[in-house]
């Protein structure tokens, strides 16, 4: 049984200028031990998808179709309040983008953790502190952090505190949205290491890591989803996708990553970079939304939208690969 399963999810923002189609026909499943990366550029819908996956849907965002199952139970037909009450924090948790700024400057770490946990489950303060202490020790962090104020913590430590707070009730699925984008590389590595440890120690059973940085996903994820204009364009095992990208967008995206490696200099930047800008999701191009930027666009791409087509455990949404 999948921990999380989405079938044909569609969620749009209703705005005065029209509907923003941020999540369009998304299907995916998260199994135990999965560490799934969702890659894509800003505005491709990855953060919206994160919210939709836990039914955190509030106007102007609205779910227009598809089904969502969490731990075997359908939640797409339930209200946000019901899902929040029954699943958030205990079955599914999120570390939202910019969570680093969510610590109250006047509250000690432990008070913050108590607040977060009590929002999801009625447990006594003493018990929560005990759980937090154990978690800190288990992860190799000093429990004395619990008595400190946010300004006494480094950015990396603050982020780790937030991750501990959101996983203290051992949720089955953790969604982390750009958890390290505000951190220096050395702290980033420590935070990623902690996320891996959480899963290895089975505090959490699966992680969805949303980031624009594919190099990070290459280091920690086992599967990779590439999104473009609200849709999944490619999916597969991380190494397969990186070494043998199929969708022209994935190829371009990988080719534009700069890491300090000789392969990157040899490959060059000109090899295949993506011209133009990502489309406006109010009025996405007809057919495949990538066709105006695609060097391989065919007449068919301008009128028909390719669906995500599986071959084994790889999937790609591109007419080049659909016979």
């Amino acid at each position: 049984m999948s921990l999380l399963k989405a079938e044909g999810l569609r969620a749009y923002y209703n705005s005065p200028i029209g509907q923003v189609k941020a999540v369009e026909d998304i299907s995916l499943s998260v199994e135990e031990d999965d560490f799934i990366g969702i890659a894509g550029e800003s505005g491709c819908g990855k953060s919206t998808l994160a919210n939709v996956l836990m039914m955190n849907i509030r106007p102007p965002l609205k779910l227009y179709g598809g089904r969502l199952f969490l731990n075997g139970e359908e939640i797409s037909d339930k209200s946000r309040d019901y899902v929040k009450e029954k699943f958030w924090g205990t079955v599914i948790s999120i570390v939202p983008q910019a969570a680093l700024n969510s610590l109250m400057p006047t509250k000690r770490t432990k008070e913050f953790i108590i607040d977060v946990v009590q929002a999801h489950k009625k447990i006594s303060e003493k018990e929560i502190i005990e759980m937090a202490k154990n978690k800190f020790i288990e992860l190799g962090l000093s429990p004395s952090v619990l008595d400190l104020y946010p300004h006494e913590l480094s950015g990396g430590m603050r982020q780790r505190v937030i991750i501990v707070a959101s996983t203290i009730l051992n949720p089955k699925v953790l969604i982390a949205d750009e958890p390290t984008s505000a951190l220096d590389v050395s702290t980033q590595k420590q935070v990623l290491k902690m996320m891996l440890d959480l899963q290895r120690k089975q505090s959490i059973r699966s992680t969805i890591l949303i980031t624009h940085d594919i190099a990070i996903q290459r280091q920690v994820c086992n599967k990779l989803i590439v999104m473009y204009a609200g849709r999944i364009v490619e999916y597969g095992n991380v190494d397969d996708v990186l070494y043998n990208p199929k969708h022209p967008y994935t190829k371009g995206l990988i080719n534009s990553v700069l890491t300090p490696e000789p392969e990157v200099r040899r490959r060059g930047l000109m090899a295949l970079f993506i011209p133009g800008e990502p489309p406006n999701l109010v009025n996405p191009p007809p057919g495949c939304s990538f066709h105006p930027r695609c060097p391989f666009a065919m007449p068919r791409c301008k009128s028909e939208t390719p669906g995500l087509t599986y071959s084994g455990d790889r999937a790609v949404a591109c007419w080049l690969y659909i016979l």
Binding site: D184, K189, H212, G252, T259, E261, R265, F273, I274, P278
Partner: protein, 265 residues
């Protein structure tokens, strides 16, 4: 070869003073020295708080150093006094910042940013030159002219700032995290613009960045900064294949790689 040195930074030190009653001193930049040659791309790489932006501000003459000197074409930049001298300096030494949105005044149309370049050059506004410069950075005049900053994407705004470089043809560009706010696919086209400025106009460029991957790709030479000092310097390949300094090594171990895999992870 001495004449090809365009910028010489000598023992640059900046100490910030904070605190109202009890003074605290923070050494942001500590005896930093380096040269930049004509047509050379030098990257100053460091994590937040390493002092790299302070170095940039001093070179741009926006911040006085505590001690040490900066020579541009052999002249000490802090000896330039008259407005005319300064205008000439800023015409030749140009900055491109991280957040292009912050460089624009939101209530003015973006045309003004380009017209100000003519003010700096002391020549009348030349519409054709503007159109040429926009073409260089792959922006359609109809896409950007007459619009307000918020109507453009981050990538477009950053390319617009570089269009200014094509208008002014500065001798030295200081680019402070110029691509950290733009997406991967747009980043490539912006990096290529800097490389073209170097190749076509022999512009010298100082990249100030935390991104070792970017520095590795674009630079002729990389300087690693840590706690206000330059701890290591070398060609990109030298630096990543045989880093000598302990900090450089730890930095390289922490950078996520696309092809290699972290050990023990």
């Amino acid at each position: 070869m001495l004449s090809s040195i365009i910028l010489k930074v000598e023992d640059l030190t900046k100490v910030y003073e904070t605190g109202l009653f009890k003074k605290k001193y923070i050494t942001a930049v500590d005896k930093v020295s380096f040269n930049v040659s004509r047509g050379e791309i030098v990257s100053l790489v460091g994590e937040s708080g390493s002092g790299k932006t302070t170095v940039a501000k001093i070179i741009l003459r926006l911040l006085p150093p505590t001690s040490g000197r900066v020579f541009y074409n052999g002249e000490d930049i802090w000896e330039k006094k008259s407005i005319e001298d300064l205008k000439k300096y800023w015409r030749e030494v140009h900055a491109v910042f991280q957040d292009p949105f912050a460089s624009f005044n939101p209530v003015y149309k973006i045309d003004r940013v380009l017209e100000q370049a003519f003010n700096l050059m002391g020549t009348p506004v030349d519409e054709n030159a503007i159109k040429e410069a926009l073409k260089e950075v792959a922006l359609l005049p109809s896409e950007v002219l007459g619009k307000y900053p918020h109507e453009l994407s981050g990538g477009q705004r950053q390319r617009l700032m570089i269009a200014r470089c094509f208008l002014l043809k500065p001798k030295l560009i200081l680019a402070d995290e110029p691509v950290s706010m733009v997406d991967a696919s747009t980043r490539a086209s912006i990096v290529n613009l800097f490389l073209r400025l170097r190749d076509e106009y022999k512009t010298s460029i100082i990249f100030i960045t935390h991104d070792l991957g970017l520095a590795y790709f674009v630079s002729d030479r990389i300087l690693i900064m840590y706690k206000g000092r330059i701890v290591e310097e070398g060609s990109p390949d030298e630096l990543i294949s045989s880093p000598k300094d302990a900090y450089t090594r730890s930095l390289l171990e922490s950078v996520p790689l696309l092809y290699g895999k972290w050990a023990g992870f």
